[in-house]
Symmetry: C2
Amino acid sequence: MSGRTFITIEDPKDPRIAEFSQIRERDLTGRSGRFIAEGTVVLRMLAAAHRAARDFRAEKILLLKNRVDGVGDILAAFPEDIPVYIADAAVIDAIAGFHLHRGVLALGQRLSVAEPADLVGRLPETSLVLVGCGISNHDNVGSLFRNAAAFSADAVLLDETSCDPLYRKALRVSVGSVLATPYARGGSAEAMLSSLADAGFSIWALSPAGRTELSSIPAADRMALVVGTEGEGLPSEILTRFATARIAQSPQLDSLNVGTAAGIALYSMARAMGRIS
Amino acid sequence: MSGRTFITIEDPKDPRIAEFSQIRERDLTGRSGRFIAEGTVVLRMLAAAHRAARDFRAEKILLLKNRVDGVGDILAAFPEDIPVYIADAAVIDAIAGFHLHRGVLALGQRLSVAEPADLVGRLPETSLVLVGCGISNHDNVGSLFRNAAAFSADAVLLDETSCDPLYRKALRVSVGSVLATPYARGGSAEAMLSSLADAGFSIWALSPAGRTELSSIPAADRMALVVGTEGEGLPSEILTRFATARIAQSPQLDSLNVGTAAGIALYSMARAMGRIS
């Protein structure tokens, strides 16, 4: 950390850290492509994404004073021209608007976001893709990305009614996977699935009423798993047009969290494809 | 809903609904065995648990005025001597201390809680049990119960360092499964696992460094899955004493949420046991 200087913030209203103000109440993303990375794990992923210099860049970092030493190795992974602001607990809580016990925040910017059809066009010969339709809950979107990364999915596609995965909480729940797993968001689920079908993907829509139990899904070189909201599930147009899969479970309770359901299905599909062992 | 009377609350400080005051900031459970059930799904589970009259009873219900008609069938499942308080949105938000858009709350009481060894003694010949060690995160405990219920586990055992599953958020995330799946909490993980081993359980400790991949675990009549915290994992005494299992996943990211990991493992074990299909 030789050349790096730390800038001490004493006024919670200091304009240099305005983007971190009241972060629980608002989300930056959407307006400017800017987003808040929270916690050491996500900060580390942001450093890697910044170095890759493809889709994301880091703009500034704000740390609780007593966390600086603990994250020295992560800071060293950022170029020295990224400003690092430090503040004591009272100031940092006043900035954030709540007690921020982790004390590690960064501001990032999304440089580009792929169109679903373009991303599908760039996928490798052998691919596993997760498609989310109508996933508006930030935790669930984060959980989908975390599980997609855990099971080596090549991409996540979200329709226009799903929330932005760069929302602070989605990014945090994803443990930063949003910054590492290629994704696209936009357009209708039907359009996304059509481009996957055209690209030769074997498409499986997950539903409690699915016709094929998960473990009977035949492996294919290109596989896509489609998940919908917990309440409504996937729209009937998708369930009638594509093959449907279900996860065997208790008849008393047909209710898995969508992130968990996607995790179980991706595990099963990735194993069938021989991608994990 | 013939004989039932509704009591209108106009003062947020009305002592009759004091237990619902500022529920985000505090949790009742522990002190008195009382707990807050939130939302229609959990309310329905509380009605069933109350009728079973074994481990839980309902004490009172507080509803947003405009939700009364929508939950009529659930209210009909409670005896008429359970008071139902109603309030408008401003009053209910002032009571709860935050915007309670669901508008459905109930106060319940735990009548008894089993000791782990006693619960183990009552388990059926063929059993699947989930054991949590050091699960202090409320969402994760809720998620463990939800997945235990989805995959027909007979019981959940939690060591003394795990949090009470009746915490408001744990209960909500469990979609009320805490009120339906037998559980015990207390003592050390070692003591719980010893009583399971004595009862002939095949015990599998889940760990990223586990020796046996999940799908190679041999089925047994009595199986127990043991999960630990996300950060620390299970203590080494458990990992050396018992068989260990891992979930095949990307070598780049060895990180599943503990609830998701338990869901994947329970799915696999319940299938191996022929309990779900």
